[in-house]
């Protein structure tokens, strides 16, 4: 009886979250479309500038479909995006989808590597601080994480470049040699990944610490300790899994920061990813490309939050019953 009820509750929960997710995506697309198409007045003028001839403006308007009614343009854009047609880049003269697929691997590698390193640093440091609660090790790590929150990722990147590229000459200061030379490619991604991860892990380490401290105060941890399990085993097998719910929440929220972080980091290190493409497109006044990229990043952020909501159910057995 109880399981059956929990099951239907869960279905309802998943259904509600899915509807909310789709509604948010629709709302996001309306915001992006409005800002990019309605606010500027005449996008053709924005793209070509004040000294464009009337003929050129008229041709571009026709090209961009600006003569169609707004609603038709919106649905045309969304409908195209759903089947992978994101329009044609005005400055590169190729389909935007092609530009994105060329650069996506760079951004995804950076984000995934950044997330993995973030988790490795934050979980170890957080658990270490919790295990040494009130001791110098705890103070030091908390001081460093407070500092880490205040350090902008792009400045940390510059400092890393100063140390490891300019002074020690161990790693390249920026640029990307391409995947054909995997070793060189990996070397050029080390500094960007570390810069991205260090800043991200500052927040996460604090959350891990306080969440772990909470769990360590509970009875089952004391029982585990009393039954003679090693400190290490207690921390990683009992404390960490139970401390995960708040950690996952923050990871989900941080994913947004991580995604925008890649935009910044790619520009610091001149990496040919989506973040760099966005800035090239701004400089070129390439509105269709900017619009597609902003939408893509927003979709990634919204999807990450949706996935976090779903993960709760998997991670926290209490939620399974309650929802």
């Amino acid at each position: 009886m109880a399981t059956c009820q929990a099951g239907s509750h869960m279905t309802y929960f998943l259904f509600r979250r899915t509807v909310g997710f789709i509604a948010t995506l629709i709302a996001v697309s309306i915001v992006v479309f409005s800002v990019m198409n309605i606010l500027p007045g005449d996008p053709a003028l924005t793209i070509l500038g004040m000294d464009a001839t009337d003929d050129a403006l008229a041709a571009l308007r026709e090209d961009l479909g600006l003569n169609d009614p707004v609603m038709a343009r919106y649905f045309g854009w969304v409908g195209g995006a759903l089947v992978g047609d994101l329009g044609v880049s005005h400055s590169f003269r190729v389909p935007v989808a092609e530009l994105i697929s060329e650069r996506l691997p760079m951004t995804v590698s950076l984000a995934v590597a950044g997330m993995i390193v973030t988790l490795m640093i934050a979980l170890s440091v957080g658990i270490f601080a919790a295990a040494n609660h009130g001791k110098p090790g705890d103070w030091l790590t908390m001081f460093l994480s407070q500092l880490g929150i205040a350090v902008p990722a792009f400045w940390l990147s510059i400092l890393l470049v100063l140390l490891f590229a300019v002074n020690l000459r161990w790693l390249p200061p920026g640029g990307f040699p391409g995947w054909s030379d995997p070793v060189a490619a990996m070397r050029s991604l080390i500094l960007p990944t570390v810069a991205l991860a260090l800043v991200q892990s500052a927040v996460l380490a604090r959350v891990t610490r306080s969440s772990a401290l909470e769990v360590m105060r509970q009875d089952f941890t004391r029982t585990a300790r009393a039954s003679g399990l090693s400190q290490r085993r207690i921390l990683w097998r009992h404390v960490l899994p139970n401390a995960l719910v708040p950690i996952v929440t923050i990871v989900g929220m941080q994913f947004a920061a991580l995604v925008t972080g890649t935009i910044v980091i790619e520009n610091v290190f001149y990496l040919p990813g989506l973040g760099r493409l966005i800035f090239q497109s701004i400089a070129n006044r390439d509105l269709p490309t900017v619009q597609a990229l902003v939408m893509l990043f927003a979709v990634i952020v919204v999807t990450a939050n949706f996935v976090v909501d779903l993960l709760y159910v998997l991670i926290d057995p209490r939620l399974k019953a309650r929802t």
Partner: protein
Amino acid sequence: MRPLPANFIIGAALVAVVIGVAAVSLIWTPHDPADLDIRGKFGDPSAINWLGTDQLGRDVVSQLMAAARTSMAVALGAVMLGGSVGVGLGLLASAIGGWVEDSVMRLADLGFAFPALLFAIMLAAVFGPSLTNAVLAIAFINIPVFARVARAAANQIWTREYVLAARAAGMSKLAITRDHILPNIAAAVIVQATIEFAVAILAEAALSYLGLGAQPPASSWGRMLSEAQTLMYLAPELAVYPGLCIVIAVLGFGLLGDGLRDITDPRLARAR
């Protein structure tokens, strides 16, 4: 009275320094921050130029001071704008409830889908990059944050007995909001504003670094860093000072916000 928490004292001291420097720069800087002197470029620190000069011979200290002003002005503008709209929406949601509250909160959720950088990118693509657009973008992401804080705090106050009494006495929701709700959520809003100030300083620095914020000749720590980055082999120290300033300012407001929260909400402080 309990002693003031350490984070409050350190934060307040750092914030006083940053605001003090920004205020002084309004009437005095050692040199004109925009004054070029190509022959005196990359000057070493001296009695005249305390931290030396940059690639165009401009005085570094004067630029850092003027940049503090930019940073404070942007943060103040963005937090005030985003904060007043957000608090207004939060109060409205709390006072009316029902579908109004639901819609405001769903709109707030939507705001979280757009990090400041994405919004600034859209504005820059459409209107060209400028400090005003940076302020608008940072203000925009502040709206949902303040709306949530204000609504959550206001919802608590609405259940208090003196508010119920005021309602029973026939006071309008607007009057109650003005006389009872707003004064009682002020502490929570101020704490949040202090923390958002730190976030706004970081955001302005990042946007200016990326070329979406302060435009020449306006000084900005972020812009100084993007210029210094191209000169790292010639003058590495130029890439250090502006970053230190950002860290001091962000750390100051962050600690001050934490300290204020510990003072206004001792329950939380003890839980930590």
